[in-house]
């Protein structure tokens, strides 16, 4: 079971491009709508990207405050960056809602190359963990946080 929550605005932005076939519950009945298209990054991941990207932006100040908070933020940062990577490469470019989120803090036309590279580094580490090639360790988390910090700096510079 993967239950996500979304505002109407978030849902509408994902609905068209990301959900080819879907079902709506109405008055206790379930109605299936849409037609299947080619597979891609799943909508659930896209939703997590939205939540994660926003969480990364909000975490900027928290990351600077205290070590415990830093470690509490590690998982959300890792998740966010891993999903950002999936979205960046999965559809041949950044998800429009990621760009939209960045635009909320300033006018952005293109994502900087370094941002993508930092995201890719985290994603590669996460993939290595997933494949069992390496184990999660404080060093790995620190590397991810270092990249995440730079991502946050880039985002701040964009603003």
């Amino acid at each position: 079971m993967d239950l996500s929550l979304a505002t109407p605005e978030e849902f509408e932005s994902l609905h068209g491009p990301w959900m080819d076939v879907y079902a709506v519950v109405k008055d206790g009945d379930v109605e299936v709508k849409g037609e299947p298209r080619s597979p891609g990054v799943s909508a659930s991941r896209a939703l997590r990207v939205l939540e994660g990207a926003k969480e990364v932006l909000r975490s900027a100040d928290e990351l600077e405050e205290a070590r415990p908070k830093l470690h509490l933020s590690i998982e959300s940062v890792r998740q966010a960056l891993a999903y950002l990577h999936l979205v960046c490469v999965g559809r041949g470019g950044p998800h429009p809602d990621l760009v939209k989120a960045l635009r909320e803090i300033g006018e952005v036309r293109d994502l900087p190359r370094e941002l993508e590279e930092r995201v890719l580094r985290v994603a590669r580490r996460e993939e290595a963990v997933r494949l069992g090639e390496v184990e999660v360790s404080p060093e790995l988390a620190e590397d991810n946080v270092r990249d995440a910090r730079r991502v946050l700096e880039i985002v701040e510079e964009l603003g």
Partner: protein
């Protein structure tokens, strides 16, 4: 339990918790190409969804508990 029944239970629980809410199911289960381990992907849409990820996770857990699915 059949996925449509699960969706209806989540919808009922989401409305109890959030008031006005819409429940949408998507992914392989709805497309009909689910395999044995495929997850049921559900999104609850509401104006009352909190902005923070942590609060969203807690709210999602509350809805699942109320629906008897957690």
């Amino acid at each position: 339990m059949e996925w449509k029944k699960i969706a209806v239970r989540i919808d009922r629980a989401a409305r109890e918790v959030l008031g006005d809410a819409r429940t949408v199911v998507y992914g392989s289960v709805v497309r009909g190409d689910a395999v044995g381990e495929s997850e049921l992907d559900v999104v609850v849409v509401s104006d009352r969804v909190p902005s923070r990820g942590v609060e969203r996770s807690e709210l999602a857990e509350k809805i699942l508990r109320r629906a008897g699915l957690s």
